[in-house]
């Protein structure tokens, strides 16, 4: 009985991980961390990312903190790409799981309460980590709606 249970668990776990990587379920601490270094540590462990060739784009002055367009683009073969910021109560914004079929060029709109710094981390397929930071001003905070 025990054995069947275990194998069931294994099968269930495999099916889930095949369809998608859920970083919220896998690394719950990364999403509740209040500052960027803690969040990065919770997500990837002790890493010392190198400055990499990552194109991180956002407006220098965001007029509306409720919808700041951010894009991240890189040629580094990546396993995952994560975006953090230090203006909100928690640091993590998004983690992309990258597959072979994807082009590493992601854009999205984010919320920031006040001016701050956005950090992008690229987890390379080579096991190395790369980062890029971008500081911007937010004219009107977007978290209070």
């Amino acid at each position: 009985m025990k054995k069947t249970m275990l194998s069931l668990v294994a099968v269930a776990a495999m099916t889930v991980s095949l369809s998608a990587t859920d970083y919220r379920a896998e690394k719950p601490d990364a999403w509740t961390a209040h500052d960027v270094p803690t969040a990065i540590k919770a997500l990837y462990g002790e890493i010392t990312p190198a400055e990499g060739d990552i194109k991180l784009k956002a407006p220098k002055v965001a007029s509306n903190g409720g919808a700041i367009p951010v894009s991240v683009k890189t040629d580094i073969p990546a396993k995952s790409i994560a975006i953090f910021q230090d203006a909100n109560p928690e640091a993590a914004v998004v983690v992309f799981a990258v597959t072979e079929d994807m082009v590493e060029d992601f854009s999205l709109k984010i919320k920031m309460k006040k001016s701050g710094t956005i950090t992008a981390i690229v987890e390379g397929k080579d096991g190395k980590f790369y980062s890029k930071k971008l500081t911007l001003e937010v004219a009107l905070g977007g978290c209070e709606g």
Binding site: A12, A20, P89, V94, V95, F106
Partner: protein
Amino acid sequence: MKKLMLALASIALMATATMADAPAATEVKMKIKAKEKDGVVKAKVSISHDMLTYDQAKKKGVEANFITHITGTVGDKVVYDASTSQFLSKNPLIKFAFKGKKGDELKITYTQLKGETFFATKKIK
């Protein structure tokens, strides 16, 4: 040992629950644009969602509710996979690109905080 078993069992239950939930996803309207050029599909997706953060929800006296995961698939290929926090903008707009071809169907699925899933599909132009 018993505790471990219990924990494992609950994980298994959760896993089966999420699996069972998958077909029960609700179809919703999303604005999806997907266009192929030279083997690369550029996609733009806009989802109608409040993305209520814990802070905002507290002020309004309602429960927080935001998207926690967005997946894009073509057939059984995963072409977009993002674990997200409450700091995406209200009515999140995402743009991404992947290797694909005209005529295929792009399916966008998102999960919100309590686990409900919603999806929409669009043919790649």
